[in-house]
Every structure is written in structure tokens, then in C-alpha cells.
């Protein structure tokens, strides 16, 4: 089975072609780089117009890369939410038009489901498994019981962890994106120099909170560099190391609670999947891996290319759903808010 996937839920426009033998036949993403930005980086493609302008050529590019005729496509998967409604509409309507024209089934995919199932595109991950989803917009712990069956154990009550990385990087004068910048600076930093709060640590449950940590870093920066000045490179490294150590502690603490809950159910092949852009951080990954190993869990982290927003995971979620005979009508709506699972 070969599925074309489209992703337009937030910043990026992407198209990919994936088959049921887990081969990524094509994977194309459009980035809008701007050189006139104060911090560099990627401009969010918030305008539906921006998605419209590039999506057609991205799909054509993906078909060329895969060297496939249209008749080889067995289904079309498009992200239908959650995200910005205008962008979602562009991808979903394009997906519907292709499905109708090719006379192939459409699957309307939840973007978070794409992340949740992405591990199965790169490894044997039998259900159920525990998922830690850590990205710019999300911070959740879920039990993935099967395709379409997700149980949320906890989520952030305020900021997502990737957002905390970006905002702290900005506060200490590091570049964008904040994740890699902090990881780099932290390598030479002394984490023990500063005492920062460890939000939610030691509390029962699996919820997260990062807003107070951000504010604590702001206070620290204020003390290190009176208004109008910037923190020195040494101070920035030390703050970055202290902040990253706190995030590692908190993720470990919350995930440990989740593992405890998960193991009660005696999963036959206990596995922890870590997905989302923040999974690219090697320090956090190492801490989570040692935690998983201590509890007898195997850890799977999809490669960075599949952890940031991409269409390959959407196409793969399409493969999974079509394999089970699930498809959506051409009237399927785009949904700005679409929680993967309730508590």
C-alpha cells in the first residue's frame, strides 16, 4: 500500500509518500527562511495563501522523487487538525480533491496521531506503548493502546517544553531555534551554579508546568544583567545548563510516574516512545533512556526528521488507518481543536 500524506497544520507545508513496508518514498518540506529577522529562523507560514502557493509544487516534487505514477497511490492522508484552520483547510481540501480525482480513499489525520504512530514507521513497536510527546506546542504523556486508541496520562498546564527552550534562549541572548542553542551552550555550563525551581517534581500524576521556570530564569537574568545589558557568554552557558538540568529532572520525574502507571497494566513488550522536536536533545534523551532501562522498558526515538513536523508521519498514520479499513468521507471537517484523547 502506498499513501500520499499532506501536512499544513501550522508553520510548515509538507508532502510525503510512504508505503506499508515502512519505506519513505518521498519526503518534501517547504521552509520559509528569512534573512531580515532579528533572530533568524523560520517564519511561521500562518497564511493559507503561503500553503496554497507551495503545496501543488511540493506534491509534484514528491511524486517525482518517488518516481511513481498517480495510479500507484492507494490513498491520500491529510492533517485535519489541530492547528490553524486556514492552513488545515488548504491541505485537507487538496487531499479531498486528489482522493476524488484518483478515486482513492481519504483519511483525515490528527496531527498528534501522526506523532503518536511515527515510531512504528521506523521500528517494531507493538501496542500498547507509552508515549512522551515533547515539542514546541505540546508536552504530553499518553498510552498508545492501538490505532485511534489513546489514553492521556498528563499534559502541560501552561507552556510546552519546546516553547520554554525557545523563550529561555531568547532571555539569555541565544539564537533561534532555542533547543539546539541551549543544548550547545549548556555543554560548557555549570548547572549547579544556579538553583531553579523544579515545577511539579515529586507531585503525583503526570502533568507538567514550565511557565514558572521561565519566570524564574527571567529573574535570574535580571540579576545577572541589569536592564539594558546582556548576560555574558559564561553566564548564558551556566543558565542554559541549569535550565536544561531542571527540564531533564522534571521530564524524568513525570515520565517515571507514567511508567509506573503503564507497568501496572503489564504490557507484553514495555516500550517508551519519545517523539516531538525536543526529542532531538541528546542530554534529555540520555536521561530518559537510562530511566527507561532502569524500569525494563525499551526506548524508541524516531529520527529528528520524523520528530519535527513532517508529512511522512501523516502518510504513515494513513497507512495504519487504511490497513484497518478506516477511511473518512469527503465531508470530513478541519478541526482547529482536536484533542487526541481525554483524561
Amino acid at each position: 500500500m502506498i499513501v500520499l500524506g499532506l501536512e499544513t497544520s501550522c508553520d510548515e507545508t509538507a508532502a510525503a509518500i510512504v508505503d506499508s513496508d515502512r519505506r519513505i518514498r518521498a519526503d518534501v518540506v517547504h521552509l520559509q527562511l528569512a534573512d531580515h529577522q532579528p533572530y533568524g529562523g523560520v517564519v511561521p507560514e500562518i497564511a493559507a495563501r503561503a500553503h496554497v502557493e507551495v503545496l501543488d509544487s511540493l506534491i509534484a516534487r514528491a511524486m517525482t522523487e518517488a518516481a511513481l505514477p498517480w495510479s500507484a497511490i492507494d490513498g491520500v492522508a491529510a492533517t485535519a487538525g489541530p492547528g490553524l484552520i486556514a492552513g488545515l483547510m488548504v491541505g485537507l481540501v487538496t487531499g479531498k480533491a486528489l482522493a476524488a480525482t484518483l478515486d482513492r480513499p481519504l483519511v483525515a489525520i490528527n496531527h498528534l496521531e501522526g506523532h503518536a504512530l511515527s515510531a512504528r514507521l521506523v521500528a517494531d513497536a507493538p501496542f500498547p506503548y507509552l508515549l512522551l510527546l515533547i515539542s514546541g506546542g505540546h508536552c504530553q504523556l499518553l498510552i498508545v493502546e492501538g490505532v485511534g486508541r489513546y489514553r492521556r496520562l498528563g499534559t502541560t498546564i501552561d507552556d510546552a517544553v519546546g516553547e520554554a527552550f525557545d523563550k529561555v534562549a531568547k532571555l539569555i541572548g541565544l539564537g533561534y531555534p532555542g533547543g539546539p542553542a541551549i543544548e550547545r551552550a549548556a555543554q560548557t555550563g555549570r548547572a549547579a551554579r544556579f538553583k531553579l525551581p523544579r515545577p511539579m517534581k515529586g507531585r503525583p500524576g503526570c502533568d507538567f508546568s514550565f511557565s514558572g521556570l521561565k519566570t524564574a530564569v527571567r529573574h535570574l537574568v535580571h540579576d545577572l544583567a541589569p536592564s539594558g545589558t546582556t548576560v555574558s557568554a559564561v553566564d548564558a552557558s551556566d543558565v542554559a545548563a541549569a535550565f536544561q538540568a531542571v527540564v531533564a529532572d522534571v521530564l524524568e520525574d513525570r515520565t517515571a510516574n507514567a511508567i509506573e502507571q503503564f507497568l501496572v497494566e503489564q504490557p507484553p513488550s514495555p516500550t517508551l516512545v519519545v517523539a516531538g522536536g525536543v526529542a532531538a536533545n541528546a542530554t534529555l534523551r540520555a536521561r530518559l533512556e537510562s530511566l527507561a532501562n532502569r524500569h525494563g522498558l525499551r526506548m524508541i526515538v524516531p529520527p529528528p526528521r520524523l520528530c519535527t513536523d513532517n508529512a511522512a508521519m501523516i502518510a504513515w498514520a494513513g497507512v495504519e488507518r487504511l490497513t484497518l479499513g478506516q477511511r473518512d468521507p469527503l465531508t470530513a471537517p478541519a478541526r482547529a481543536r482536536w484533542p487526541l484523547a481525554g483524561e
Partner: protein, 157 residues
Amino acid sequence: MSGPLTVIDLADLAATERLARRLAKALRPGDFIGLTGDLGAGKTTFARYVISAVSGRAEEVPSPTFNLVLVYAFPHLILWHVDLYRLRTPEEAYELGIDDALAEGVALVEWSERLGHFLPEDWLELRFEEAAGQTRRVHVRPHGRWIGRWRVLSDSL
């Protein structure tokens, strides 16, 4: 046209919640509430209290920074929680569809200054500033029709 500035000291989170509740009661479709102030000043916390007050229960209100817009559709009022932090130009911000928000409900907009000349004529601006510890100071400036409404509302605080 802009009205006079009111400076309010909020001693703790309970005081922030009280102000949010008072404002929530006055909200109606078409209202634009701009929330400004530095990172960590308390914009999202205030928005969370407003949204929970409108819904009548503790709502899950994640930060909208990455998603840019999160919509809360309650039976009696639709709230758009918007965050312009990641945007650079007023044109980008305008593309988010804030006009649509105002046509159907209330827009709670963080970093509203990034809208530049797309700011509406009638709006209420709350600029948050961190004082000591949990204390916050909020500078309230009404614009256009909000001048009269804020006068009434502030009398009842």
C-alpha cells in the same frame, strides 16, 4: 482616541483572578482585549483566568505561543486566544483572521502591539509588569468605545 491610564496592583494570583472575572463578565462579541508585557509578566495566566471565568469552570488553557490561535467555543461566547509572539510583521498577524474572531466573539490577544496599524479603534489594553515575587502591576488603557465601558467597569472593581 485613548482614555486615561489606570494602574492596578495585584497582590497575588487571587487578585489577578478577581480582575479577570470582573472583565470576563463584561465581555461581549466583538471585544478586543490586548495583553502586553515581557515574557513571564503574566499575560497567559490572566487569559487563563478570563477563559475559565467565561466557561464557569477551570479550563485547560495551554500557552498559544506555538499554535498562534486557540479557540474556546462556549455556548454563550466564543473566545479566541491569540499569541503574536512568534510573528514579526503586522501583516502576518492580520492573516491570523482576527477580523473573523471579532465577527463571532472575543479576541484575547497577547503581544497585541505586533498588530501595529491593524489594531482596532475600540479595544482595551492591559500591560502587565512584574513587581516583587508574585506581585503584578497592570496598566490599563481603554481605547475608543472602551473608554466609557472601562470607566463603569473600574468603578465596580
